[in-house]
Symmetry: C2
Subunit: 326 residues, 2 copies
């Protein structure tokens, strides 16, 4: 689909601060010198069995794209494809109720939505946020010498996939669900306070896909240390058992030859880095002298975070995955 | 689905000027004392065979909900479910290209979008517009004594349905396509100039469904004269041949016993009034002393429009369909 989209005419509208061309988390439109709109849309098939929790996760996931730009979400529209005859109205209501609960918790007004009957259940939101035009945090601002920080553990895609095949452990399901339910709001707030250089949330393209987009948009090379990455419970076992998502292949194709892996980085870790996340963590690029304060504040806010790499001048490869720790 | 949505908790956010409870064309959120956001989302299966034209119609249809509130659309996000393996990437690109063309023509910035692979092709947009908070035109302002005006002819649902069964004439297809491609922008501009009392665009719930929503929101009864309604070519023949859309039944169920039909209103005309429209016309309620000027200006702008009814004090039935002309 990236190929399809790239064939569309580019906009030269000056009010568009961030458009589709940099594959950022959301588009940004300058409404006035004081206010920019930050807009995003996402919807997907269930990642957990409980419809109420799925609705909550869909909402957190969509809000996350707005937080990733350093903005505050204000409104949402629901997007629902429901096989209402198969699953029943009650289940659909539970999904909507879960989503509405999260929106209400974060002061986001649900303005409407569109629902179609469909064979395959899909749900999500189009969300709008606001931010001062000068305070937008994009994926295009990573600077040479920056440290890279990743929040949350990786592996929600693999666990969701295992869940559908009834191979996920209770511990893995609970940990993945808790991770997907955790809003990135606190991270966004700290990012703004410390004025980080770039950020993106990790979703469908996996860590490497979104790191690739950041590297490309920022015109730098990102170095990532494989042994610094944290995985959710059971993820490596599931990978060793051959559980894969379709995105393991498509994300790899998306990256093409943009990544150089150190020989010692094993195939399981490579798959982890390609794993599509739902409501994933944030990859943040910031000046090294702010790193300690950033990590401390994140930990104080209860956010698991790890320094996972650094920003290099642009090389032949946009991404370099090193074995070992920093 | 209306039943599902009605079970959601109601918002009491003061910034929400129009929320989901009045079934209006779009939600409205007061961003400041000067600017309100008008937001809507819609997507649907193809209504014409040509992918480029389908993309255009999807865009016009989505913008129409913003125009129906008297607002100016500024940004859009695409929503695409594409069976890319079945139909090919070129066809998908054509849809996106058609939509992008319409957005560009109306100065609307495409900020992003979400695409999923799906068996059944669906496409549309989430659109945001702006309007002064005091100038929002809702479906809740119809006043007793108002005249009702309907723009465009009815019958796009029946013709699309016939097209899928290869029963639509070339003339009908061309007329329906031209109608769906016609933006309601000029209508919106004239509505603002003349300060009409209420408006809604006619889409999935058909003329009667949207008239019902207006009557309910405005706490009035709407009287519609069946013989004033204009149909696209071949529509009555197709109806007489038994061509129906699923919405003929579901829209009838949605209305329940809210409509009183004069005995002489035949079943074909009843079906016409229930026909779900894509990118349909506008139903406008305005003071009778403005009617002549409104119709003249619409006709000057090349918009087909007809006085089709009037607003009565709230009676037992929210809608009364009379046989004959005014």
């Amino acid at each position: 689909m990236a190929q399809v989209l790239s064939q569309l005419p580019k906009t030269n509208d000056k009010r568009v601060i961030v458009g589709p061309s940099t594959s950022d988390d959301a588009g940004v439109y300058e409404l006035s010198s004081e206010v920019a709109l930050v807009q995003t849309v996402d919807f997907f098939t269930p990642v957990v069995d409980d419809p109420y929790l799925f609705g909550k996760i869909a909402a957190v996931n969509s809000l996350s794209d707005v937080w990733a730009m350093g903005a505050e979400p204000i409104t949402a529209l629901s997007i629902a494809a429901f096989p209402i005859k198969t699953v029943g109205a009650e289940l659909c209501t539970e999904i909507l109720r879960g989503g509405a609960q999260i929106l209400a918790e974060h002061g986001v007004a649900l303005l409407g939505g569109h629902t179609v009957e469909d064979e395959q259940l899909k749900f999500g939101y189009a969300v709008t946020g606001i931010v001062h035009p000068k305070k937008v945090i994009t994926n295009a601002g990573a600077k040479v010498g920056d440290a890279l920080v990743l929040t949350k553990r990786l592996g929600t895609g693999i666990i969701s996939s295992a869940l559908k095949r009834k191979k996920a452990s209770q511990e893995a399901i609970e940990a993945a669900t808790a991770s997907m339910l955790q809003p990135n709001k606190a991270v966004a707030k700290i990012m703004q306070q410390l004025q980080v250089n770039a950020a993106t949330d990790i979703t469908g393209f996996g860590l490497l896909g979104h790191a690739f987009q950041m590297a490309k948009a920022s015109k730098v090379t990102l170095k990532i240390y494989s042994e610094k990455l944290l995985a959710l419970p059971q993820v490596f076992e599931l990978l060793a058992d051959g559980i894969k998502t379709k995105a393991d292949r498509t994300n790899s194709e998306y990256l093409g030859d943009a990544v150089e892996f150190a020989a010692k980085v094993d195939v399981l870790t490579r798959s982890l880095m390609l794993d599509p996340q739902t409501s994933g963590g944030m990859l943040v690029s910031l000046a090294k002298d702010k790193l300690e304060k950033f990590l401390t504040e994140l930990h104080t806010a209860g956010v698991e975070a790890t320094e996972c790499g650094e920003v290099l001048p642009l090389e032949d490869k946009l991404l370099k995955v090193e074995y070992g720790k920093i």
